[in-house]
Symmetry: C2
């Protein structure tokens, strides 16, 4: 048995332990972890320093994601405390009915079993995911990045040590310490033990997982989001929503990447809108008509319309009407989040019905696509696929169901 | 663009047409198809004869599945008529709530989009699946077996012709007529157009799809089902349930393949049970203890316990208690359906909670795992995976969700 297979088999073996714990024990575990992280902050920060030193040549934004400090550890611990107030989804009877044969059928919510996560150099993900699996009754196999391996080892070590010390079996948490590409590919095909694999990271990572995995996958994250300013829009509202979508946090998946504008209002709306974006350092590319209206705009390539810029860049496209806007978005979007700004109820209805994306907004910023903003109290990521989970994944999305059927000797 | 890609792109292109139809039109389409099949029965039977002739050397049970006749066509048509009485799941508002930002969030049920099916030589599946996608608002790509290609072409031809004649766009239905292995493998990786792929057929087919597909897959079918006779069981009830599970239809996935018996009652229960099975032509294999009690039983290999026999064969295993039974089942089962026969409520509860399968029965036959028996009114197959759908898949399991969010200018 290889190391990866061994680690996955240990997770599977201990998955019924975590599945069976009661709600009170789940919260006790979260509190134990939260306290331990704060107590052992020095040990964790020391390991994190080693990771930062080993990656000193990496770009600043990558180092920022990798870095921990006391304040960040307090924030991570507070996240676990917040989870305590949520209801555990495990054991919920979703539906119950009887059928003509006299059988009583219950549809019961159960954990998925073993959730594997492949993620990049963000040590906070290690703890966030452990919190989510504790609450949802799942075992977990963590496969973090080589760049964060010391931090991840320290975090998992502190967490498992604290659980053991307090009389809980910590083996439902497993970390793959081999950070070669081979270990990652082995995890993707470990069908015997892994119930679902969730990649969290760049579009490249997610593509690789989708292509190579034979275990079930939930795709997350890529957000090529659109705002469509329909001809009846409140133009001031449209401007606010576009600026918020592009500027409030350009590196996240629910940030805005594309602006679509009805031809009828393009000359009124675009010059001011684009000048405001440019004042804020945004590079604007657009279709020929946009360039004709605003000569500062560079011509957008077809590739630009497909691209999640994740930075201070936006593409602009002028369309004739709602139908053309919908067709354009359904062609180029990654099906994450789109918004229409309009005062026309029919256009709003049409857009909501025909846009094929996880979250469709009317007169609001795409930046709200988020488990916390949706009121789920937790988030494992944003699913951009259609099966199992779509949009923000909270605790319920980390569960499956089973049917429990009671009879008194029925045969068929 | 290859033929497969073209066919899939046509399905995608026409997926919004079928998604948008109202409930009345969906039922009209079902009625049109039902009538057309009966009217054009001769044409269909003629094509079916060609398939039967081309496969004359195949085993009888395969020919039986391939064969159509007027009665069977009437049955298939009646299935479509039955679908009319079910509610369309499309557009259902599953949940609706408001969040502190003032946004109103609706979780709405939507079609999956393009469902692809790879299936074996059973022409009835062609029509059943078309009925299900019409009702659930999906486009479909059908990839049937070479052995049924004439029947499938005739059925799809009749159906699409009737839709066109009645003013409906039939292009949401697409049949891949290239039945080479290459076409099947191309379909498995057609991520641009296929939202989900459902393999229906042998364990080998399903394994190939799971290993090669990069599109999302819902695994169906393999049923290595167990009955566990606990020491407090009503032994007459146990006997009925075992005979029903093994004999009523041995070739289907919810048939019984394994019998687990508590040591305390093995000597009372097994001789009569096994002799009854043998009288009915069942080959019985078992553990050493079983062989010692019933010398007619052959020794079971470890492989036997993993095997879905799909015929008149059963394996028997004697265990000490409920814990050992649960561990055995969770190790060897394909996680489809298991039953416990018991009068001990605690054992029933423990079995229901700890068995990790789609359907867990107490005092009833595993043969009830079926969309119709569960009252779903329809069935696409039985999912044995944990994500998206588990157990019998009805119309709801052929849908996804989207969030529709209404605001009045909210930014974050």
């Amino acid at each position: 048995m290889s190391d990866v297979e061994l680690v996955c088999s240990l997770a599977k073996q201990n998955s019924s332990y975590i599945a069976e714990l009661n709600a009170e024990d789940r919260n006790k575990i979260l509190k134990i972890i939260s306290s331990a992280l704060k107590e052992k902050a020095d040990e964790i920060l020391c390991a994190n320093k080693a990771d930062l030193a080993a990656n000193a040549d990496k770009p600043a934004h990558m180092l920022d994601r990798l870095a921990l400090n006391e304040k960040r550890i307090d924030g991570i611990a507070a996240g676990l405390d917040d989870l305590c107030s949520l209801a555990t989804p495990v054991g919920e009877v979703i539906e119950e009915w009887s059928v003509k044969s006299g059988l009583n059928i219950k549809k019961v919510r159960v954990p998925l079993g073993v959730i594997a996560i492949i993620y990049e150099a963000r040590p906070n993900v290690t703890v966030d995911v452990i919190g989510l699996v504790v609450k949802s009754g799942n075992a977990v196999v963590l496969r973090g990045s080589k760049d964060a391996i010391n931090s991840n080892k320290a975090l998992v070590g502190v967490i498992k040590g604290a659980l053991k010390k307090n009389g809980y079996n910590p083996e439902f948490i497993q970390l793959i310490t081999d950070t070669t590409r081979e270990s990652s590919e082995e995890l993707m095909t470990c069908r015997k033990y892994v119930d679902v694999l969730i990649p969290r990271g760049s579009a490249g990572l997610i593509r690789t997982v989708v292509e190579k995995a034979s275990v079930p996958v939930i795709e997350t994250g890529t957000g090529n989001c659109h705002a469509y300013v329909e001809k009846t829009a409140d133009l001031q509202m449209a401007k606010n929503i576009v600026l918020n979508g592009k500027l409030s946090r350009p590196s996240v998946c629910n940030a805005l990447e594309n602006l679509i504008v009805d031809r009828a209002i393009a000359k009124d709306f675009l010059p001011d809108m684009i000048s405001e974006l440019e004042k804020n350092g945004v590079e604007v590319v657009g279709c020929d008509e946009t360039v004709a209206i605003c000569p500062s705009v560079k011509k957008a390539s077809d590739e630009d319309f497909y691209t999640e810029f994740l930075g201070l860049k936006i593409s602009v496209k002028i369309v004739e009407n709602c139908e053309e806007a919908i067709a354009h978005i359904n062609k180029y979007s990654s099906s994450h989040s789109e918004t229409i700004i309009t005062r026309d109820e029919k256009a709003a209805k049409r857009f909501s019905e025909l846009i094929d994306s996880a979250a469709v907004y009317v007169n609001a910023s795409t930046r709200f696509t988020d488990g916390f903003e949706f009121g789920f109290g937790a988030e494992m990521g944003i699913s951009t696929q259609k099966i199992h989970a779509r949009g923000p994944m909270g605790l319920k999305e980390l569960t499956s169901i089973k049917y429990v059927i009671n009879g008194n000797g029925q045969v068929r």
